[in-house]
Each structure stands twice: as C-alpha cells, then as structure tokens.
Symmetry: C2
Subunit: 334 residues, 2 copies
C-alpha cells in the first residue's frame, strides 16, 4: 500500500525470521566480531581466487539460513540479492548451487535494502519464504574498483575499507516472534557531482538525506519515533555530511543517527573513515542490529543502506558518482 | 497469487500500456528495423565513448515512454531495469536524470523479463506506473566481455552479435486496451558446464527449457495454448538445442517456438547465430511482438528472455557459464 510519494507499507506482515552473517578475520576483530555466525580463518578460505571465496561465502550464508530455519530448498520461493562484482558473479554462481529461483539485484552497497524491499513486496503477492543475500570482499573490490592489493597502494584519508562479509536474511509470512518489515522507501538516484572515488561517503550522503527525509514526510513521523536511524556505509565523514545536509533541511538527526560503516571496525583498526561494501550494512544488520531488535533493545529502526553507483569505466571516463539509498523500517513489538 | 512451483498470477491486471525501442543502424537494417521508434544515425550518437552512448539511449527510451504516455515524472513510481555493463552503469546513470526512484536489476540478457516480473508484482502492492528499461550496445559489450573492436577479432561460428538497442515499457494498473501480463515464472540458475563464452545459446538453452517446462506444469497448459513461445537470445543453434532438450522431456516445441536472437537480424547480415544482449529480447518485444499483440495477430504469448551469467573474470578463472530464464505470459483479449 502506497503511503506518500515513495513509501510502501506491507499489509501482509513480513517477518525477518532468521539472519546469518559470515565475516573475515579483520571483521572478526571489529566491533561485532563476536556476533558473526561464522568467521573465516583467512581471506582465501581455501579458494584459489578471492572471487571464488566470495562465491563460497554467499553459498555458506544461504546454507546457514536453510539450516537455522529448518526449511528445505523447495520451501524457498526465491533467492534475491547481489554484490559489487562485475555481473554480480558471486550471487549468480552461488545461486546455481540451489534448486531455487533467482533474481539478481544491483544497487551497489544499497543492494541489501533493495533485496529486502523486493522480497517484502513478493511476500504480498504469493511468495511465502524469500532469502535475501549479499556480499562483498576487500580483495575482490579493491582489485576491481581500484588497484590489485599486491601494488600496496596507500589509502587516502577519506577512503573506507571494504568489508569482507556475506549475509543472508529469511523473509517469511509465517508468523513468528521476529522483527517485521513495516514499510520501505525506495530512493532516487542523487548526484551532486562528487568525482573522488576514494570519498564514497560524500557521494552517498545526499542520497541518504533525500531518502530519509522523504521517508519521514511520507510516513508523517519524526526522528524521535525511531530508536535508531542507521545508514549503510557512509563512514564517519559521510555521516557528518549527512547530519549537516539534514540540518539544512531543518531535520536534526544528531545521535539518533549511526552508520554501519562507521560502526563496523574499531578505531584502532584504522580503516580510514570506516567500512563499506554491500556486505557492510548487510552483515551489521544480520549480526548485530537484528539481535538488538530481537533482544528488545530497540523497537523501531530505520535501516538505510546506501550505494555509490560508479564503475571503474565511469570514473575513468570522467563521470561523477551517483548515489542511492533505500530505507527499510523494521519493527519489533514485544 | 502463487500457482504451482515458480509461477505467480497477477490479480490486479498489469497493462503494458506503451513501449519504446531505439536501435542502431545495423539493427535498422534487421528484420524489425521499420518498427523501432527511433534509429540512431551511427553507433556513437554524438558521444565520446560508447558507454556514454548507451546511457543516452536508455535516457531516450525513458523519455520516449513519458512522451507517449503523457505522464509526468512524478506519476511514475519506479524505474526498474539493468544492462550488461559492469555495475549496470547505463541504467544507474540514466536514472540520475529523472526524479523517479530506481531499482537496478541484473540477470544478464534476461534482465528485461526480471524487470517486468518485479514491476508486475509492485503493481499488486501499491504502485500504479512502473517503467522497465534495459539496453545493450555491441561496442560496449564486445570490449567488456571479449576484445575491443579495434583488434578486429574474428567471431567464431557459434557466436552471436550483441544488439545495439534500448527498450522501455510502461506497466500500469490503469485499465486500457493493451496487452496484459497474466503471470510470470521465475527461473532457476541452470549450469550444464558449458565453458565456451562464444556459444551462449548452448549455455542458456537448458535454463530456457527448465523455465518453459516449469511454466507449463505450473499452469497446466500445453504448448498449443500459446500463439508463440519466444525465447530471448538463444540464436539459431541455441533454439535448436532447446527444441532438442524439450523433446527429450516429451514436449514438442517445434514451430510454436521462435527466438528474438534468431529473428532480429536478416540472414544476409551474417551476424553468426543471431543477436544477443539485454537489448535484444527487450527491443524485439517493444518494437515488434508488442505491436503484433496489439494488432490482434496473437492472443497469448510466452516471452522468455534468457541470460548467461558469466563475467570476464569468471571465464578467465575457468568457470562454466550458468544460464537463467524467466517467463512472462502476455495476453491480449480483443
């Protein structure tokens, strides 16, 4: 049911029944290391290439959900998701291991939000169980978007560290004591002409601002109605930029706002402005935020993964970096 | 509403109210040249790179739909679509030109079917107007998947020619005298271990077979219930492979089957096995098939775009080519 301009309320309740997160050793040392369902010993995980590792990670995350839920493959209506790699190879190649229909998504690091939105709406139209899965890997992303790790390129001060993680969530219409997706707000592409591919936070903050403000207008809510508004991977600098942009529009986000990228690593790990990657917000949700909702620490959060829609070719051709953000309103009634 | 294993019937009718197709000069000389809404004078269309051309093509196709329908941007609920380029840059960069929410899709050359399926289901859940857009460009695809055109590489006998085209369709719940999407069947990833990146037809035919047979089982229909079953871009060889595979399962597709890739070029153009690319099935639908439905030549078709989920990296790492196909049942009552 449409509410306002870009927000859709779910009439059949969409339960996020289970989540599963797998991370690398660097993520294990981060803020939420103890909450991951599985931690890899190293970044290769027995694979010949990091791309193959990322495929294996997604496969493991999907199997993790099947195991936790006790559902058979035939009971899952669809796999939905994506990743950052060209032609979303980790998603497509992990999907071939399952006898489940697959629809690939791409909204860069906002892909998890997009998948949750798509899954939620299919649950209004006959599907019963959907698994949403995304991933990112530091080594595959660096090689593809910037330089191979072997070059030892120095990161710039505004840069972020791609999170090595895959995360899956089971969306179901089967009533259970789990957080519920109450509404989603689909975001527009916003491009304020940032061209620095090492400063994603600045490129994505305007899109996050646009989506959050649209969500508040559409739902008639105020910032304090949420226990937490949590963006995807703006990083520390990007999060400050978002606070500044929202303030200019008269919305004070202040400490009600946090960011998965800013949170995921400990400061002493020195990951620049924080984490990034499709696996960043997804794994922070699946490992930590979901747990907090289940434990009753929060009742209502606005989860806003953000994406920078660049490619290596677009940057090399002098294009700026368009941003996007989708908001997912997640509620846990006790 | 779910029907069978993988098929979903739309309860609120989904009208394909308008379509718009733009093609290159080579496509203009093909079988459906006279049906394109716009034909570019050359493959560059005044742009410095072919990637920028492809962005401009998508933008033009979306504007074409807005013009035909008379709808304002604010009346469109979402842009859905994708393309073959890394990080679906043509789709993301054309979307930034519009004040409309955007969700990016990727299922290779099956992306148009995926977008129609997603759009249809959102129309069951509060959306009123969705524009689905995809594109491909011979020069961008060759450079990315194979070799730059400047090398003058010789095509192999089983290869296909990427169609330079962008196509848009307006899905709406507003009743009108237009073809209707009655059901969609979401396909699984099928990989019979083909490794020849120059023989996409063979790689995708098993997925097409799986989806078509599943659709028939799910709906209880037989081949003759359709005026046409039309796959995406298997090409001539791939289409024969599909007939063979279906026959082994006891389903005779025979002349009821055709393929957009096999149809799009004239034989004297010598494009190998035919056309391919996300823009192939999309432009054949938007330029030709849609018109035939509107004109009453057919009443019920099964439109089955097919995708090969490879990337350059997956091929170089010795992976086989997973295929996927989604089926869209389109009906025009007179």
């Amino acid at each position: 049911m449409k509410q306002g301009k870009q927000t859709y309320r779910m009439q059949t309740p969409v339960y996020i029944a289970h989540t599963f997160a797998i991370g690398g050793p660097y993520e294990a040392k981060g803020s939420f290391g103890q909450f991951f369902d599985y931690v890899m010993d190293d970044d290769e995980w027995g694979c010949k290439t990091h791309e193959k590792t990322e495929i294996k990670m997604q496969k493991h995350a999907i199997n993790g959900i099947l195991e936790k839920s006790g559902l058979k493959q035939t009971e899952i209506d669809c796999l939905m998701g994506g990743d950052l790699l060209n032609q979303i190879v980790p998603s497509s190649f992990s999907a071939r291991e399952f006898e489940i229909p697959f629809t690939g998504m791409y909204n860069a690091c906002a892909t998890f939000a997009e998948s949750l939105a798509m899954g939620s709406t299919w649950l209004q139209n006959g599907m019963r169980n959907v698994i949403c899965t995304v991933s990112s890997h530091y080594a595959t992303a660096e090689r593809q978007y910037r330089y191979p790790l072997e070059l030892g390129t120095q990161p710039t001060p505004a840069s972020q560290w791609t999170v090595t993680a895959a995360a899956s969530a089971l969306l179901t219409t089967d009533a259970c004591d789990a957080p519920v997706i109450e509404s989603v707000t689909l975001g527009k592409v916003v491009d304020l002409k940032c061209t620095d591919a090492n400063n994603m936070g600045a490129a994505m903050a305007p899109a996050a601002c646009d989506t959050i403000l649209t969500h508040l207008r559409d739902t008639g809510r105020v910032v304090d109605d949420y226990d937490l508004i949590v963006t995807g991977d703006l990083g520390r600098f990007g999060m400050d930029t978002l606070r500044f942009l929202a303030k200019q529009e008269g919305i004070m986000l202040e400490d009600r706002l946090n960011d998965c990228g800013a949170m995921v690593y400990k400061k002493e790990q020195k990951p620049g402005q924080g984490g990034s990657g499709a696996g960043c917000s997804a794994s922070v949700y699946c490992a930590y935020l979901h747990r907090q909702l289940c434990d009753g620490a929060w009742k209502r959060i606005l989860f806003v993964p953000t994406g920078a829609l660049l490619s290596k070719a677009s940057s090399l051709q002098g294009e700026s970096i368009p941003g996007i953000a989708h908001a997912v309103e997640i509620v846990k009634e006790n």
